[in-house]
Symmetry: C2
Subunit: 475 residues, 2 copies
């Protein structure tokens, strides 16, 4: 079995044994069973617990040995000492039957403890598994998800929207927060999800290589605290970023931040400056705050990369427009689009005399006196302008517009162009969640929405920078 096949065995598992499954609602071992069922998984789920006969309608097994069907992967939700015994049990079954190709160890109490007990436990856990070529995710992790195959071994995430983002994270909680904090609007759609935990077997480089070849993954979202083999990561990433973006968030700019990381996943954060330089060279998109990370991955999945750096900022609200332009210009990567004469003439015909059409070239403040239909027409004019590569649209939206109609007018203007002619479009709704009605419609049509004008500027900068990298480095 090569690397790719061995990871396929995890993400495309057809049968999952859950060691430490519990019949008690609220317990981790109960949640794992619940979530394993949450995505309409069509394979077999085998809860294992000597004390239960049935869990959530599934037959519960006294031991791994008792399961007569084939077991593709095992999930451990046990205490640390029990995990060691379970690993031995898995090894015995593997020697006897030859199944179980992967193990997800959710349990903690290993090397992340920072003491000798933890480290020696981890060795005892891993030895019997790795000797047999059984792939291990974790320990000390949230688990894995494959939305298209319905595989879910997590204790925290139930169903989640399908999409083109695959998350690879050393923090389960952080990865989960991407999903949960954006789920109400449908911002981020997931393909695969891996909380790697202590990363003692399957590591970040291998996962990135795997996802690089995964046709359904459009964007790889990476949260990394540190890796022992940074060189391997950079070599792998440099290949993958020629085909698809890797978007990263990496703490460790301060010494205490690095030490916090170490006490979390036992990983050495390494020099931040070194990582920063290496990431840039490898074409990894680097984000420096949490909302920038969330929205960069969502946008790169949903809207096309800009073909150039000429951005038009379209707004009905001057202040947020100013904030956006100020942030957009600060990187030196983007420039404001020079509107074509046809665009200016066209806009003057339909906008109010008080509208600001390119007083600052590339910046349009339609002012409050616009209805839904005018939005539609303006978008058609701007998308048709060959001098514009990308658009940031900023609106509250005004309370006197109909949210649904406005959204549909923007969607239909956008979709009136063939896919190849559609431009990068980020829509900022400064009223945030209060604009949920409008935003959900755009998101459903694969048009990314945000709430902060400066975050949108950072996302756009990331997209332009990556687009420039790609055109230089792609084969």
């Amino acid at each position: 079995m090569d690397h790719k096949q061995s990871l396929d065995a995890l993400f495309k598992a057809k049968s999952i044994a859950i060691l430490g499954a519990s019949s008690k609602a609220g317990k981790l071992g109960h949640r794992v069973v619940e979530n394993a069922k949450a995505m309409d998984f069509s394979g077999e789920i085998y809860p294992v617990n000597p004390g239960s006969k049935e869990i959530l309608g599934l037959k519960c097994y006294k031991s791994l040995e008792e399961i007569s069907g084939k077991v593709d992967i095992a999930v451990m939700v046990l205490n640390a000492e029990e995990c060691i015994k379970a690993a031995e049990e898995i090894a015995r079954r593997r020697d006897r039957i030859g199944d179980i190709n992967g193990v997800v160890v959710i349990s903690s109490g290993f090397s992340e403890m920072g003491d000798e007990t933890g480290r020696s436990r981890e060795k005892a856990l891993l030895a019997p598994l790795l000797e047999r070529g059984i792939r291990v995710i974790g320990p000390n992790c949230l688990g894995i998800i494959d939305t298209y195959h319905g595989v879910n071994t997590t204790f925290e995430i139930g169903n989640c929207p399908k999409g083109g983002v695959s998350i690879v994270s050393q923090s389960g909680a952080f990865a989960q927060s991407c999903l949960r904090s954006t789920e109400a609007l449908g911002t981020i759609g997931i393909n695969k999800f891996v909380a790697m935990g202590n990363m003692k077997d399957v590591d970040v480089s291998e996962l990135i290589e795997y996802l690089g070849d995964d046709a359904r993954t459009n964007v790889i979202a990476l949260y990394l605290e540190g890796t022992k083999d940074a060189r391997k990561l950079m070599t792998t990433a440099a290949e993958v970023t020629k085909r698809k973006p890797i978007v990263s968030m990496k703490p460790g700019k301060t010494e205490l931040g690095s030490r916090a990381a170490q006490s979390h996943t036992g990983s050495i954060a390494g020099s931040f400056a070194m990582y920063k330089g290496a990431f840039r060279q490898a074409g990894i998109v680097q984000t420096f705050d949490v909302p920038e990370f969330y929205h960069t991955i969502a946008a790169m999945d949903k809207t096309p990369l800009p073909k150039g750096n000429r951005v038009c900022v379209l707004t009905v609200v001057g202040g947020p427009g100013t904030i956006c332009i100020d942030e957009l210009m600060s990187s030196g990567v983007a420039e404001l689009a020079k509107l074509s004469p046809e665009t200016k003439t066209g806009l003057k015909k339909i906008l109010a005399p008080t509208a600001n059409i390119g007083l600052l070239d590339g910046y349009i403040d339609m002012t409050g006196s616009v209805n839904e239909e005018i939005h539609h027409e303006v978008f058609k004019i701007l998308i048709a302008d060959p001098q514009i590569d990308a658009i940031i649209f900023i609106t509250p939206p005004p309370t006197f517009l109909d949210a649904e109609l406005l959204a549909n007018k923007i969607v239909s203007a956008y979709q009136s162009f063939p896919e190849a002619e559609r431009k990068t479009l980020l829509s900022v709704f400064v009223n945030g969640f209060s604009a949920a009605d409008c935003r959900k419609i755009l998101e459903k049509n694969s048009m990314p929405t945000l709430e902060y004008p400066d975050t949108a500027a950072k996302v756009m900068t990331n997209m332009i920078r990556y687009s420039q990298y790609r055109s230089k480095n792609s084969k």
Copy 2:
């Protein structure tokens, strides 16, 4: 009438004439009438429009002259040329009856146009008003709000939650977005709201002085693009920040950002570096991204300032904890608290053996195995520790905890201490809006919640920095 009294006349108006009131739903002139009624205003509202008899149940007047009762302020929702005529009408009434002490000009089409037409219109508008000592807000503004007096002259904001934040903004839309994007959670509570627009009479310095003396204003939130009299602003601000915080957001770090500002409010942004230095000297809290601004003003209103810089980061989730500490340490302002021996012993008794209690001093990762009651006990231990000045609590929260019970356990632990002993507490719910149930309870109890761990670190840094400034500069 001194300055303070003349502004009181606006915010404590007991009768409001709306020139350009409209009976047509959706029109600006209709929305202004609607919003004027939205806050249970107990005074008189006089819609004025020659074409209507009644608007939203209120008698509509053909002209200002026709109103027999006293008129404290007039709001203009007219086109620019009509505004000039209305100003003359106001002047005539003032000469005849002596009422109308303030005018809010919502209309645009003046100096922000950047052309001679706009500038000369503005002069014609202002002359008859200012000659008579009538105070003018705007033109080109969203209007004003005083939640405690029920005054609302805006076309976009209906009712909004009462609180201790007063917003002074050169962008109505940006000020509004503070309210609208946080309203679903009750994050920001408002006292007064002023969208200053072109700021041709009542200016930012005067408003800051006024709010500095306003007992119900705990925090002044300032969005500034530029002011002609920066020296006056700094002198005023330096006095006010001895008593209460001014939190600012100011674009203009790039040349195009400055020019966007100029095309928005006609103001010259000035040198960003100059403003930055002057703001710091005047004790103004400077924020550099939108979520930082929103949450700094909310936190400073709701939770006490830290008495020192020793922060404890309490979490159940390692990754976001690491991100928070990394950002917190990057400013050099905060340090991690050294937990007292009693705290460590106390926590060890109640937390799981896998919990990370001060492996990195001041950082506690409780891990997933904590229930609601343990949260309660942990908070009591930490608030009692004399070596801790402030706490950042970070949680998804775990889906297997009861949101309401968890929130109430945290609230009751916090409130079990007398007010003087309560510490600065920021609670980060990384699941964002998905944790709304839990967050609303905390917010209602004046305990600020956030969604991004790095934003929380920035907010905490701002609070520590301001607390240090205050202790050095207060009388």
